[in-house]
């Protein structure tokens, strides 16, 4: 059982949980993820480690309520226990000195780029961070990212905060004007990563994306998370989660992300009916 030390609600349905798992906190590197289960009857879902405190033995995860498990997770509070947490899984980000790097974050991907940005900064890079969301309230971790970036640009789709427009438009402007940019990390919803890949294709830069595939074990045992990378089948959980954006078969990846859409709806409905019956938050 894994204790929740702190819960923060970043915005209505975006939450952060600090969990006590000393052996993961000790080993985790930027870019890696964990798999957790809320309860014994739960499913195994991967979540990127957004931050960690090695000394205290804590890790931080950020999630947005989307389906049944994230909904249930949003009812967990300080002092509650998670049934299972494993990790750190996947390969760490390739942190090195590149010169100028751009980090693009969307949705909860904003939280995922934070440790990568911090480590790239420490490695001596000039770090430009572009984060975006639909509207002002959905912009999270602005302060933390400002601290580790040389430049932080915020965008909102509706123009309620920062620049109006998509992160990819800003990225394109940057690429047109700053020829020192060597490497880009784009983490967010699949469609954002796909569009980023097509924007950066014609520039002499490497683009890295972090794929949030559907997983079961997270150790290369089942193949649920497989993707085609440059025509070869790879496991996101052990070969990734970061891949060269230009090599990803995006159509296949987006199809596979939809594999359980119907079942997920049913699961959420079943859960909500339960909450109603029991008249309480947690089931």
């Amino acid at each position: 059982m894994y204790k929740i030390i702190k819960k923060e609600t970043l915005y209505q349905n975006i939450h952060a949980l600090w969990i006590e798992v000393p052996e993961i906190a000790r080993a985790v590197q930027p870019g890696q993820f964990i798999i957790l289960m809320t309860k014994e009857k739960g499913e195994r879902i991967p979540l990127t480690v957004a931050d960690y405190d090695r000394e205290k033995g804590y890790i931080d995860i950020v999630f947005q309520v989307a389906g049944k498990t994230t909904k249930e997770l949003s009812f967990f509070n300080e002092g509650d226990y998670l049934y299972s947490v494993i990790g750190p899984l996947g390969k760490k980000s390739d942190i090195d000195f590149f010169g100028t790097v751009v980090l693009v974050g969307g949705g909860t991907g904003i939280a995922c780029i934070h440790p990568i940005a911090r480590n790239l900064k420490q490695a001596g890079n000039k770090v430009i961070t572009i984060i975006g969301a639909r509207t002002k309230e959905l912009i999270i971790m602005e302060k933390e990212l400002k601290e580790v970036s040389d430049e932080l640009i915020v965008t909102t789709d509706d123009g309620s905060y920062g620049k109006k427009g998509f992160v990819t438009n800003i990225l394109k402007e940057k690429l047109d004007h700053d020829h020192t940019i060597k490497k880009i990390w784009a983490i967010g919803p699949p469609i954002m990563m796909k569009v980023t890949a097509s924007v950066t294709k014609s520039y002499p830069v490497d683009t890295i994306v972090s794929l949030n595939a559907i997983m079961v074990d997270g150790t290369g045992m089942c193949g649920s998370c497989r993707v085609s990378i440059g025509g070869e089948t790879k496991m996101v959980c052990t070969d990734g989660p970061e891949f060269d954006a230009q090599l990803v078969d995006w159509d296949e990846f987006m199809n596979r992300m939809n594999r359980y859409r119907k079942a997920e709806e049913r699961s959420l409905q079943y859960y909500e009916n339960h909450i109603k019956r029991q008249g309480q938050g947690e089931v």
């Binding site: 494993i86 089942c222 089948t233």
Partner: protein, 478 residues
């Protein structure tokens, strides 16, 4: 107490059959198919045993069970001592009694097998183990209390190899910690083999009994990720690696990454470990088509095809590139699958999976095969018949063509060498790897095999670890 029968009667009697759930009922549930012997049936079957002076059956048992002795206790209706006799060398009797291929092991060596009616040793073993569980009979572990040694052994992976080695070492008084990556211990016994062949409650029970011996089981611990083997070397005197084969093999044909194509590992893990068959009470979903095609004809394929039926597939096919005579699965499993309505397509090789742009599977292009010359394994190798392509209408695929070595543990063990398939190189008798003090066994040294060979490896390794540590060696002193 039942009587000993005269020899001529024992030879004359037929094997006592075991009752089963009928096929039309069982394809709608996940309950166990064979129902086990009753007390009377077990005694009747045990009475047939000739009690050979030189019991050949024992030669066929890697778990080293004293077979005639436990059978004698059954005849005497002393089930408790029958249980202790088995438990003395086999820590997983209810498991091995169910899933061992006895027809190729102990029962093949039984002298009564000359007339084609060997003692049903597996069924008797199962009966005894079930009796003990149902009657709350537990082993006593006095040894473990008295001869506690101050030496620590780490075991990686809680499949049959890891569990057996842990149990044997704990009995000798070692301080054993068993690391498991998943949230439940048992390995293939919990994630692979379906409930209808091996109820999970039984595995859970036998694992608990092993924990009672003092083995510390730590789940949710991925060796190679949470900590490497080389890190464990600092804290343990010896290490046993039993992480299983654990990586799925795909056909590498077009269309294989479409949405409704599963590896058997994923399909069975979702259904067994995650209990997708009880979705939405359990959260993990599984998608079932109308017509499921399972590729391969081993035990894993039979389990997959039978699971698909139970989950609601209208038709379930086995697609196999050789013919009936080459089927690698146990005959009993093939028989069960056929009874349940699984349809076999022999001499058929899939070459492409067809589907629409959303990733939905709509069919599978196959080619017919004929059998040519025997290959190294002695089986006649299949050759495609040119121009015989045809399309099978199906809407889901399960790849059950085998597994490969998962490199996650090996990558964290610098001095442990692997062979060209990624399996650990070990000394055949001691199971010691190329890094002295680190041992390995089970599927990760030979590829997918059997529960009983994993059990056998666990036993040999425990003995070798004992020899290594009792002569004053330790990883911590190296």
């Amino acid at each position: 107490m039942a009587e000993m029968l005269p020899l001529k009667d024992r030879i004359r009697l037929e094997q006592v059959p075991m009752k089963e759930q009928s096929p039309d009922v069982r394809i709608h549930n996940f309950k166990e198919v064979p129902l086990g012997y009753t007390r009377e049936e077990a005694i009747r079957e045990a009475q047939r045993c000739l009690q050979c002076k030189n019991p050949t059956c024992m030669r066929g048992c890697p778990a080293e069970i004293n077979i005639p002795l436990f059978i004698k206790y059954i005849v005497e209706e002393d089930f408790k001592n029958a249980y202790f006799t088995i438990l003395n060398t086999d820590a997983l009797p209810a498991v091995t009694g169910r899933v061992c291929p006895q027809e190729e092991q102990c029962q093949r060596e039984c002298v009564l097998n000359h007339q084609g009616k060997p003692i049903a040793i597996g069924r008797l073993e199962r009966f005894v183990a079930d009796w003990a569980r149902e009657n709350h009979v537990h082993a006593e572990h006095p040894n473990n209390m008295n001869n506690k040694k101050n030496l620590k052994v780490a075991v990686v992976g809680s499949g049959p190899a890891g569990l057996t080695c842990s149990a044997d070492l704990a009995k000798m008084g070692y301080d054993v910690t068993l690391f498991e990556a998943l949230h439940k211990p048992g390995g293939v016994l919990v994630y692979g083999i379906p409930e209808f062949r091996l109820p999970k409650e039984i595995v859970e029970y036998e694992v608990k009994e092993i924990e009672q011996m003092g083995v510390h089981v730590i789940c949710n611990y991925v060796v190679g990720a949470t900590e490497g083997v080389d890190d464990l070397k600092k804290d343990f005197d010896a290490i046993f690696l039993a992480n299983g084969a654990g990586a799925p093999r795909f056909m590498n044909i077009p269309g294989e990454n479409m949405n409704d194509v599963y590896s058997a590992n994923e399909f069975l893990t979702r259904s067994n470990l995650m209990k997708a068959y009880r979705f939405p009470e359990y959260d993990t979903p599984i998608n079932i088509g109308k017509i499921a095609a399972t590729i391969g004809a081993g035990n894993v394929a039979m389990d997959s095809a039978r699971t698909a039926l139970r989950l609601g597939a209208e038709k379930s096919y086995i697609i196999y590139r050789r013919s009936r005579t080459e089927i690698p699965a146990r005959l009993e499993e093939v028989h069960h699958a056929e009874e349940e309505g699984v349809i076999f397509h022999f001499l058929t090789l899939p070459i492409q999976i067809l589907g629409d742009k959303d990733g939905k599977v709509t069919g599978m292009e196959c080619i017919k095969m004929s059998l040519g010359e025997p290959d190294q394994s002695g089986r006649r190798s299949p050759v495609p018949i040119e121009g015989s392509n045809f399309v099978l209408e199906i809407d889901m695929v399960i790849d059950a063509i085998g597994t490969m070595a998962n490199p996650i543990v090996a990558r964290s063990a610098q001095d442990v060498e692997v062979n060209r398939w990624g399996y650990f190189k070990v000394d055949e008798t001691t199971k010691m790897t190329t890094d002295e003090g680190i041992f390995a066994g089970g599927d990760i040294i030979r590829g997918s095999a059997t529960v009983i060979s994993a059990v056998g490896d666990g036993k040999s390794a425990a003995r070798a670890i004992h020899a290594y540590l009792s002569s004053g060696n330790s990883l911590r002193k190296k």
